[in-house]
């Protein structure tokens, strides 16, 4: 914290426009959504105003400072520990009462607050008029109106921020019920008297207002109670029980009710509004979109449309991009390099490997763009939260709350942010459980693999084949979820409380920005990995060793050797020993799923046989083998980045669990699929073995459940 470089934190309820304001102030391009959980970590940016550098922190949306879930803890810990110079509290003017609850808590904490009332246009449309100066006089802080989705006068806002930093105002003190105040004073006296015996006072408590600490102790806030010595507990418990006896409610509910008492009085005084309409525009849409008859079919139609758009519309674009980039970066570029007289191997590396790699990345762009655009439209319109409500019925069956649908849906974009998005779930059980199911949702990186192989093997109905794979992933997630519910996660899921945001007509600007942000992120990350994998694959293809399997001393490439060593294990799922390239592609997919396409393209094309499609067809031999291969890709271990994220969020135990169990599951399913589709007398043997493995799989989960069950 420094007066020369002030730190400004943006705090508020979810979905009030914190990220929009952050982008407006800093010029950043953070993702904005019309559903809670968009920001799960705090984001940092800065702006310069009159020669000063202002650090801006975008905090996750929170309803209060009680820190029930990890994303709420991120916001609360930041305000408590980093002590920003100014907290800009953004409140939704069209829903003032609920939003002011956090404001009251910020004032109790003694944070320097600037109140910004967003969504003024919606408030005006709902005939709500707010007396800002009157509100300022009651709260003792500045309150400014703001319309975030139109052109924002950032200069005026920056001026206001500077003024607030220079002239901080004295906020109002919130008073509780008389008896509660007495006990609050008693708790403060205990803290004052015993301050020397509480080590936390020397570790940071001394900078927190005593009144706030007393409130949190009365609320039984776990984090604040942690450092309290056991011998002080009875003294504090006595005060809490007295408050509870007085009001016949739990102490945290007493304080929350009293805060709302203050807010209700304030709103009554400063807000004038016409009576609430019986039903809003969103309610009328919801009557249809959430109805018993139309809700579920609409949900599936919307999801199918997303994939139809991603596959059908992008199909011709993929062809054009592939042809154009191959002509430019492989053929023309290669010819130019040959003309310069570059050695053949270097020419190959720069044109076929690098140029071909870039062309491969180019083909990803249309389907990924359309899938991200569709998800952006769903998020910005507000349908995403409705989809979570619809999905809750199935989610409950597999032991997860409906809110877990949101991380799973993010999983269709990328598994890494999906695992991060599980932080919006309150209980550890739900977070671990949802994280283990996210790899079943085919991420954006798998889509190019599906598109490439499905268009080759099922050219007439590639869209149906791809949709089928996505759907199969969801079905497998449900089955795996059921198995986990019966074994490791036996307890009930956490309580589901979710806000349904009003429907918005998404703006083109927001959708394109949202899509661009995700697409850029994906392409840059995928691009780096693919190029790296292609170079490594090419090197491994050139370096050769004597083949120990043939015994003749014939030299083969390292890649061929590795692939051949793995292939016997994949034989039951239709990968013949001659098709070792498919095994190598699976190994590269462990680094990043998108690398599978690059590896297949690199290995199935040679100077002797340049026709990639014909080589792939010949390699797999049948559609049954391809279906099994696609199923294996869908289900086997998540990529290295996702495994790392699992490790970061839940530890090494769950990371290994995901790697081992998902790969084993993928092998079983792919084997069953191949043996059924290409049935022969020996299939019984493999099907029996698969059945035995399913039994072992379930029993091992039960054993894990006995010793490592996650209950809360």
């Amino acid at each position: 914290m420094s007066k020369n470089n002030p730190v400004i934190a943006l705090a508020g309820n979810p979905n009030v426009g914190k990220t929009t304001l952050f982008n407006a102030l800093t010029g950043s391009r953070q993702t904005v959504g019309n559903w809670p959980g968009v920001t799960v970590e705090h984001k940092q940016g800065y702006y310069l105003y009159q020669g000063r550098r202002y650090e801006v922190i975008d905090l996750p949306g929170i309803y209060s400072l009680s820190a029930a879930s990890p994303d709420e803890q991120v916001a609360r810990n930041y305000i408590l520990q980093k002590k920003p110079d100014l907290v800009i509290n953004i409140v939704d003017a069209s829903n003032l009462e609920r939003n002011l609850y956090l404001t009251v808590q910020l004032l109790e904490l003694g944070a320097p607050v600037l109140l910004l009332l967003s969504m003024i246009d919606i408030a005006q449309r709902n005939q709500i008029s707010i007396e800002y100066e009157h509100m300022e006089s009651h709260l003792g802080i500045a309150a400014l109106p703001l319309v975030l989705n139109r052109r924002l006068d950032t200069q005026a806002l920056m001026q206001q921020i500077e003024r607030q930093l220079e002239l901080p105002r004295e906020p109002v003190t919130i008073h509780y019920d008389e008896v509660v105040e007495q006990h609050l004073t008693a708790v403060q006296e205990v803290l004052q008297a015993q301050a020397e015996d509480i080590p936390a006072f020397s570790d940071g408590w001394q900078s927190l207002p005593l009144n706030w600490l007393a409130l949190k102790l009365l609320e039984r806030d776990v984090k604040i109670w942690e450092p309290v010595p056991a011998r002080l507990a009875p003294l504090l418990e006595k005060e809490i029980r007295a408050v509870e006896k007085h009001r016949g409610q739990s102490s945290d509910a007493v304080l929350a009710d009293d805060r709302y008492g203050f807010i209700r009085g304030l709103v009554k005084d400063v807000v004038k509004r016409k009576p609430l309409p019986k039903s809003t525009y969103s309610d009328r849409i919801d009557r249809f979109a959430l109805s018993r008859i139309a809700g579920l079919p609409l949900f599936f139609v919307v999801m199918y449309l997303v994939f139809l758009l991603a596959v059908r519309v992008s199909q011709p674009l993929i062809g054009w991009i592939d042809a154009g980039l191959t002509w430019l970066l492989v053929d023309r570029w290669g010819a130019l390099l040959a003309l310069i007289g570059l050695p053949q191997w270097l020419n190959y590396l720069f044109s076929a490997a690098l140029g071909g790699g870039i062309a491969t990345i180019g083909t990803f762009i249309p389907p990924i763009f359309f899938i991200f655009m569709s998800l952006s439209i769903l998020e910005d319109s507000g349908y995403m939260a409705r989809a979570a409500f619809i999905a809750d019925k199935f989610m409950r069956r597999i032991g997860l709350p409906g809110k877990a649908f949101i991380p799973l849906l993010v999983g269709f974009g990328c598994t890494v942010p999906a695992i991060m998005a599980t932080r919006t779930l309150e209980s550890k059980r739900d977070r671990v459980f949802a994280s283990l199911l996210t790899p079943f949702m085919s991420c954006g990186a798998k889509l190019p693999v599906y598109t490439f192989l499905a268009m080759l093997f099922f050219p007439r109905r590639a869209d149906l084949a791809i949709f089928g794979l996505y759907l199969f992933g969801v079905v497998m997630a449900m089955l795996f979820g059921l198995a986990l519910k019966k074994t490791i996660f036996k307890t009930q899921p956490g309580n589901f409380v979710m806000e349904l945001p009003p429907y918005h007509i998404p703006t083109l600007n927001a959708i394109l920005l949202h899509t661009w942000h995700r697409l850029k992120d994906f392409v840059l990350r995928a691009g780096k990995t693919i190029l790296l994998v292609i170079i490594v694959v090419n090197i491994l293809q050139v370096v050769s060793l004597p083949d120990p399997l043939s015994g003749s001393g014939q030299k083969v490439s390292i890649l061929e050797l590795g692939g051949k060593a793995l292939t016997p294990l994949l034989h039951p799922m239709g990968i013949s020993s001659a098709n070792w390239e498919a095994s190598v592609a699976l190994i590269s997919g462990l680094f990043a799923k998108e690398a599978i396409v690059g590896t297949l393209q690199g290995l199935y094309r040679s100077d002797a046989a340049p026709d990639l499609e014909a080589n792939l067809m010949a390699g797999f031999g049948s559609r049954a083998a391809m279906v099994a291969y696609l199923l294996f890709i869908l289900l086997y271990s998540p990529c290295a980045a996702s495994l790392t994220m699992l490790f970061r969020e839940h530890g090494s135990r769950w990371m290994f669990f995901a790697f081992v169990y998902l790969t084993a599951l993928a092998w079983i399913i792919a084997t069953v699929a191949y043996q059924v589709l290409a049935f022969n007398p020996r299939s019984w043997l493999w099907l029996s073995l698969s059945a035995a493995l399913v039994l072992i799989f379930f029993l091992s989960l039960k054993l894990i459940g006995r010793s490592h069950a996650v209950k809360t």
Binding site: Q249, A388, L500
Partner: protein, 100 residues
């Protein structure tokens, strides 16, 4: 005369009651569970001890309208002021309301 062991047991038995979370103090027929509020009906919250929902505005005395309440569904949809919430039926069963 009770033995020391039984005196301790009795004391613990009493404590169990004194520490039990207090249920809503409304008379029979005076209020009902929010989970039983049929679709379209409005009510006022009489008792709510769930801090998560209080923080979202379902506090004592607020008007609440049931937007969707199908008995076989795990959740209900309610309107509080301008907000719409999906509430777990287990939470809704703990909230007492009076129909208005």
């Amino acid at each position: 005369m009770l033995s020391r062991r039984n005196r301790v047991r009795l004391r613990q038995f009493g404590r169990r009651f004194s520490l039990r979370s207090r249920t809503c103090n409304c008379r029979r027929g005076d209020c009902l569970e929010l989970a039983k509020l049929s679709t379209g009906r409005s009510a006022r919250i009489l008792c709510n001890n769930d801090i998560k929902t209080i923080e979202r505005g379902l506090y004592h005395g607020v008007k609440i309208t049931s937007f969707r309440n199908e008995p076989d569904e795990p959740n209900i949809v309610v309107a509080v002021g301008d907000s719409r919430y999906v509430l777990d039926r287990r939470i809704a069963e703990q909230i007492r309301v009076r129909i208005i």
